[in-house]
């Protein structure tokens, strides 16, 4: 088994980092593989070192709740198992998945990070570790603590990465004078910028998160009971790479999104509930482009928000009509 450390580190952060999109992939032998666990339940260990205000037992409890939230998605099949406390540290590359606190004062915008050990031939995740940065204060209080970040919320985000999900771009932010971004609203736990101290709303998954994990680990009749939207986004007749495509279902209020992932401007949105959707295309302008793509310079963000000029009807299983949207330059 050829094993390599995948350097990309995905985080729930105050600013930006990481390199991913909806699903992580690796290329080998001309083939692209999606990174995922192939054997479940996935065993994880909790580091036996706590942090200020969060003893190791409370840390383990918050992690267990976050794992359980992902595990409870009825249309996804992934499962996790707590294997015990360990003296090992995250990112030890020891074949054991460890979650724990680490002190990284130099990462002053990074709340936490996830790393992987993968089989580059198959895309199988062999090990995944998560650290939470003790440069910040953490809370496991049920109602949150206005001066501390909610550990369970950030853990839910990191465990999304741990499972193989990249960042979602469903969110709106505004720039602060210091160059950091403040979240105005988020449509996914996997949005790359954390909500802020004392906020516990991201303990619950959103439809985009559910679609992402279900697409990666489909259970039951997920594929047969949900629809896919496929299409192409162009600018001046040329395919657009990195356009953010969002589908809104007026019946459920759900937002599910993806990106155009090649230079032809093609995208695919999975996990849509059958029925009509409004499709909105926007540039990645609410988080750093490098939160989503390895080569940010290749991503076109110089266009205006544009809606598909028809209602898109997601079928029950498979894809409906092909969607084509021509965006207008900014």
């Amino acid at each position: 088994m050829k094993v390599a450390l995948l350097v990309c580190v995905c985080v729930a952060i105050l600013s930006q980092d990481a390199a991913a999109y909806l699903q992580f992939t690796t290329s080998a032998g001309g083939q692209t593989r999606v990174l995922k666990w192939q054997r479940t339940p996935v065993r994880w260990f909790a580091a036996d070192r706590g942090a200020a205000g969060v003893p190791a037992s409370d840390f383990q409890g918050a992690m267990a709740r976050a794992f359980a939230t992902w595990e409870a998605v009825p249309t996804a099949s992934i499962a996790f198992q707590f294997a015990g406390f360990t003296g090992a540290q995250p990112f030890d590359d020891d074949g054991v998945s460890v979650l724990g606190f680490q002190d990284h004062p130099e990462m002053d915008r990074v709340l936490g990070a996830t790393g992987f050990l993968i089989d580059t031939l198959t895309g199988e995740i062999v090990e995944s570790d998560i650290f939470f940065n003790t440069a910040f204060l953490w809370s496991t209080a049920a109602q949150g603590d206005p001066n501390r970040f909610d550990l369970e919320s950030v853990a839910l985000h990191e465990i999304g990465h741990f499972s193989g999900l990249g960042h979602s771009a469903i969110g709106e932010t505004e720039m602060r004078p210091d160059g950091t971004r403040r979240v105005l609203g988020s449509g996914a736990v996997m949005f790359p910028i954390a909500m802020g101290r004392g906020i516990t709303q991201d303990r619950e998954l959103q439809p985009d998160d559910v679609a992402g994990i279900s697409d990666l680990y489909p259970a039951g009749e997920f594929r047969e009971s949900t629809g896919v939207a496929r299409g192409r986004i162009t600018r001046n007749g040329t395919g657009l790479l990195g356009a953010h495509v969002v589908a809104f279902n007026p019946a459920t209020g759900s937002l599910i999104a993806s990106f155009t992932l090649n230079t032809d401007g093609e995208f695919e949105l999975a996990g849509l509930r059958p029925g009509p959707h409004i499709i909105r295309v926007e540039p990645i302008d609410d988080a750093g482009v490098d939160s989503f793509f390895n080569r940010p310079s290749a991503i076109d963000v110089g266009f205006l928000v544009t809606f598909y000029d028809r209602l898109y009807v997601a079928p029950r299983g498979g894809a409906g009509e092909r969607v084509t949207v021509a965006v207008r330059p900014r």
């Binding site: 609203g185 449509g187 709303q201 959103q206 007026p250 009509p276 409004i278 028809r310 009807v313 079928p315």
Partner: protein
């Protein structure tokens, strides 16, 4: 001969009364009806595409707003009914329409201009009705107003016909039937035209909120009774 005359004489006093109450329109007959009309539009509800706000309060952040509406459209129908007597009848039928489902998008958080997006749907309603002829308001021998009410099943198919939405339909209305021809003891006992005005209440089907939605409708048709 004497007996026959006596019977004839005995019947005479009854004839004028029978003539007064006897309908020129046939009863106890099967009737089929086909025609077209217009189904009025209705709001299907409004919704916001909301993001979870980054505050401790649950007030969401609106990404954009959507108003949905089923546009008015022509309809076509076929019905079959049976009149038990000159006053009461029942009927059942199928109505088909092909209205446009329109969503108006506005208030975009990034100032995208408002836009209306749409699809065409196929709408079928299968319903059963009770018809009450209002003989007291008859206009001449051959024109009768009526009231009707009933319920049925609503089946709507999105564009591409890959997704089916189901619901219920209730209606109340009235109209007028005019017999162009009425004759007894023939295979075709009558024929005429009919005008209906109805208020439909539809629930389920393609809808973005839970409440029943009212649609006005008018239709005209020709009918033949056997």
């Amino acid at each position: 001969m004497i007996r026959l005359v006596a019977i004839a004489i005995a019947l005479i006093p009854a004839l004028p009364a029978a003539a007064q109450t006897r309908d020129a329109v046939p009863a106890g007959r099967l009737e089929v009806d086909a025609g077209g009309g217009w189904l009025g539009g209705a709001s299907l509800g409004s919704d916001d595409a909301n993001l979870r706000a980054a505050t401790a309060t649950p007030a969401p952040f609106r990404l954009f707003s959507v108003d949905t509406r089923l546009q008015s459209a022509p309809t076509f129908h076929v019905k079959a009914g049976f009149s038990f007597n000159p006053r009461f009848g029942v009927e059942g039928g199928l109505t088909y329409g092909h209205p446009e489902l329109r969503a108006s998008v506005s208030n975009d958080a990034e100032s995208a201009p408002p836009i209306a997006v749409a699809e065409r749907i196929d709408q079928y309603s299968f319903d059963a009705s009770v018809i009450i002829m209002i003989r007291e308001l008859a206009i001449g021998q051959r024109t009768r107003p009526f009231v009707s009410g009933g319920a049925g099943y609503l089946r709507e198919l999105h564009e591409g016909q890959t997704v089916v939405e189901q619901g219920r339909v209730f209606h109340l209305g009235g109209g007028v039937k005019h017999w162009l021809m009425a004759r007894d003891r023939r295979f075709i006992s009558g024929a005429g035209i009919r005008m209906d005005a109805r208020l439909y209440l539809m629930s389920g089907g393609i809808a973005f909120d839970d409440g029943p939605r009212p649609h006005g409708a008018v239709s005209g048709s020709v009918f033949v009774s056997f």
